[in-house]
C-alpha cells in the first residue's frame, strides 16, 4: 500500500541498504537516494564511528531501521536490554516503522545469530504474535515482520507459510515486510508455487518490500544477497506491486558488494514496475470520493 499505518503513513519509493563500503561515496558525492535501510544492530552501540557516520547520513537522508536479532518466534521472552537500545536508536533515526524477521534464533539465552524457520503451528502463532505486540508496545512504532528464506520444514507444521504469516500479523496487528526473493528461494526449496504465496498475503498490511539476489546450488537455492535480482524474483515483485500498489521497496546487497552506483542502479530497476506516485491533489480527491461513497 502506498501509505498505511504499518509504515507510518509514509510514501517512500526505492531505497538501498546502507553498507560500510559505500560510506565514502555517499558522504562525498551525496547521490540522490530516496531512503536508506540500516541494520539496527550495527548502530546499537554507545558511541564511536558507527554513530558518527549514521548521524552524517541522517543529516541528508531518510533512514528506516531493519533488525536481525529480535527473534519474534523464539520461545524465550524478548530481551529487554535489546529493546531499550533499539528504542534509543529509533529516537535518533526517527524511523517511521521498524522491521525484523518472522523467525526464531535464540533459546534459554543462547543465540544462533541465524534466522531460523518456525514450525507453522498455532502455538507458534500465539507466541510470535505476543512477542511482536510486546515489542510494538515498548517501541511505540509500527512493526513489519519479514518472511525469511528457509531450507527446512517441520513435521509439526499445521498450515502453509503464508497462512502462518497472515495469522501472525492478524494476531499481532502488525505489518508485513514482504521479501519476494525469500519467497522465491523457499518456494524452490520446498516445492510450492511462489505466486500462491504472493496472492495470499494480506496486501493492506504490506508496509515494505525487499528484493535481493540469491545463489543457485544443485539441490537448493540459498539467500546470499550477493547477486543482482534474478528474473523470477522480478516477476514476483511485479505481482506483489499489482496487489499492493506502490510500496516502499528496498534492495539488499550484503556480500561481494559492488560500487554504490551499481547497487543503486539495480535497485532503481524496481521503478519500472511501480505505478507513478499519485500527485497530492489527486490523492486528496480520491480520498474525498471514497469518503463520500
Amino acid at each position: 500500500m502506498p501509505a498505511n499505518r504499518f509504515n507510518g503513513y509514509t510514501d517512500y519509493g526505492v531505497g538501498v541498504g546502507l553498507r560500510i563500503p559505500h560510506y565514502d561515496h555517499i558522504l562525498s558525492r551525496n547521490p540522490t537516494v530516496d531512503w536508506f535501510e540500516i541494520i539496527s544492530e550495527n548502530y546499537m552501540v554507545d558511541g564511536g564511528l558507527p554513530l558518527r557516520m549514521l548521524d552524517r547520513i541522517l543529516e541528508q537522508y531518510r533512514v528506516v531501521q531493519h533488525g536481525v536479532s529480535l527473534y519474534f518466534g523464539s520461545a524465550d521472552r524478548l530481551n529487554r536490554d535489546h529493546l531499550r537500545r533499539l528504542k534509543s536508536l529509533t529516537r535518533r533515526t526517527n524511523t517511521p516503522w521498524l522491521s525484523d524477521h518472522l523467525c526464531w534464533g535464540s533459546v534459554d539465552g543462547t543465540y544462533s545469530h541465524d534466522l531460523l524457520p518456525l514450525p507453522y503451528t498455532w502455538e507458534a502463532v500465539r507466541k510470535t504474535a505476543a512477542n511482536i505486540r510486546e515489542a510494538q508496545d515498548f517501541l511505540e512504532l509500527p512493526i513489519a515482520v519479514e518472511n525469511v528464506s528457509s531450507y527446512a520444514e517441520f513435521h509439526a507444521s499445521e498450515m502453509t507459510e503464508w497462512q502462518f504469516l497472515n495469522e501472525v500479523v492478524e494476531a499481532a496487528d502488525c505489518g508485513i515486510l514482504l521479501d519476494v526473493n525469500n519467497i522465491y528461494v523457499s518456494s524452490w526449496n520446498h516445492g510450492f508455487d511462489p505466486f500462491d504465496y504472493v496472492n495470499a498475503v494480506a496486501p493492506e498490511r504490506v508496509a515494505q518490500i525487499h528484493i535481493a539476489g540469491h545463489s543457485k546450488f544443485e539441490k537448493y537455492r540459498l539467500d546470499t544477497h550477493d547477486h543482482p535480482v534474478l528474473d523470477p524474483v522480478w516477476r514476483l515483485y511485479q505481482r506483489a506491486i499489482a496487489r499492493c500498489g506502490r510500496t516502499a521497496t528496498l534492495l539488499e546487497w550484503d556480500d561481494r558488494i559492488p560500487g554504490f552506483d551499481e547497487v543503486h542502479d539495480e535497485a532503481l530497476k524496481a521503478n519500472q514496475y511501480l505505478p507513478a506516485a499519485i500527485p497530492e491533489s489527486s490523492a486528496a480527491t480520491v480520498e474525498m470520493n471514497h469518503d463520500a461513497a
Binding site: E41, L49, S69, V107, T110, Y220
Partner: protein, 273 residues
C-alpha cells in the same frame, strides 16, 4: 514437542560444528525427529545448510576480531581455537559484537590453544578485544585544563569510557598495529613482514580520538594512577595507592612531577571527564 522443546533440540543440533569429528566431545542428534525430507534433500542435509551457515557466521565474526592472534598462533591452530572457544562459550548476547568478549580470559586458562607463545597470544587477544571495546564505547565531554587544574585531592575523577588500560608482558602492540595496517592495505602491498614480538613489560592505553582507536605506551607510574582512577578512586587515594605499592623510585619531587605529567597527559588527550 512444544515450541520451546523443539527450539532447544534444534539449537543443540546446530551447536555441533559441521566438521564435528575434529572436535572431541561433540555430539549430534538426528534431525529426522523434527524435520521432514524434501524430494532433493533429507532432513539431516536440510539441517546442515543451517549448521554450515551458523558456524560460518560465528567463525568469521571471531576471526575478524583477532587478526594479530591468528598471526601468532598460525592459521590452523587459530581455526581449532575458534571452534573450541565457541563450544565453550556459545553466544549469550543478541549482538555478534559481543561474541568474542570471553576469549581473552578463556585463552588464559587454556594454554594448549595458544601454542608455544601462549602468553603472547593471550596478550594479543586482550589488546584486540580492548580495541573493539574502545572503538564503540561511549565518549563524554572532557574536562577543560582549567577545570582539571582546580581539582582537589578528594575530587572524584572519571576517565573516558573508551579508555582501556592494559599491562602486557609482550610487545604485541607493535604486532597489532602492523597487522591492522596490513589488513587495510591493497593486496600488492600486504606482503610486508610482521614485526618480531618479544617478552617485554608494556603499559598501554587504548583510546579513541575522532572515531579512530590509538595505542599509547605509558610509564608504570602513570599506568597505576590511571588504573586506580578507573577503579573510582579519588585522586588522593590513587596517588597513595601508587606510592604505597613498591617499587617507586625517586624523590617526593619526582613523584609530584610524575603525577603532574600524568594529569597533563590525560587532560591533553581528553581522558578526564
Amino acid at each position: 514437542m512444544t515450541l520451546l522443546e523443539l527450539q532447544r533440540r534444534m539449537l543443540g543440533d546446530l551447536r555441533v560444528p559441521p566438521d564435528a569429528a575434529a572436535v572431541p566431545g561433540a555430539r549430534e542428534q538426528g534431525a529426522r525427529d523434527y524435520l521432514s525430507d524434501s524430494p532433493r534433500l533429507n532432513a539431516q542435509q536440510r539441517l546442515d545448510i543451517y549448521r554450515r551457515s551458523c558456524w560460518a557466521r560465528l567463525r568469521e565474526a571471531v576471526a575478524e576480531d583477532f587478526p594479530a592472534l591468528r598471526a601468532i598462533v598460525g592459521r590452523q591452530r587459530f581455526a581449532a581455537l575458534i571452534d573450541a572457544y565457541l563450544i565453550a562459550h556459545p553466544s549469550r548476547s543478541w549482538t555478534l559484537r559481543n561474541l568474542s568478549r570471553s576469549l581473552p580470559a578463556w585463552l588464559a586458562t587454556n594454554p594448549h590453544h595458544g601454542g608455544k607463545r601462549w602468553r603472547a597470544a593471550v596478550d594479543a587477544a586482550r589488546l584486540e578485544w580492548a580495541y573493539i571495546e574502545s572503538f564503540d564505547a561511549a565518549s563524554r565531554p572532557p574536562l577543560s585544563p582549567e577545570r582539571i587544574a582546580s581539582l582537589g585531592a578528594d575530587s572524584p575523577l572519571c576517565l573516558q569510557p573508551h579508555l582501556r588500560l592494559l599491562d602486557l608482558g609482550w610487545n604485541v602492540d607493535d604486532l597489532v598495529v602492523a597487522v591492522h595496517h596490513k589488513e587495510g592495505e591493497s593486496p600488492d602491498r600486504s606482503g610486508k613482514t610482521l614485526p618480531t614480538i618479544r617478552p617485554r613489560k608494556i603499559y598501554l592505553a587504548v583510546h579513541r580520538v575522532d572515531g579512530l582507536v590509538y595505542y599509547r605506551r605509558l610509564d608504570k607510574f602513570a599506568f597505576r594512577i590511571l588504573d586506580a582512577l578507573q577503579r573510582n578512586r579519588t585522586l588522593a587515594e590513587a596517588v597513595n595507592a601508587c606510592l604505597e605499592s613498591p617499587p617507586h623510585a625517586g624523590s617526593a619531587e619526582d613523584r609530584i612531577r610524575a603525577l603532574q605529567q600524568t594529569l597533563a597527559l590525560a587532560g591533553q588527550l581528553g581522558w578526564i571527564c
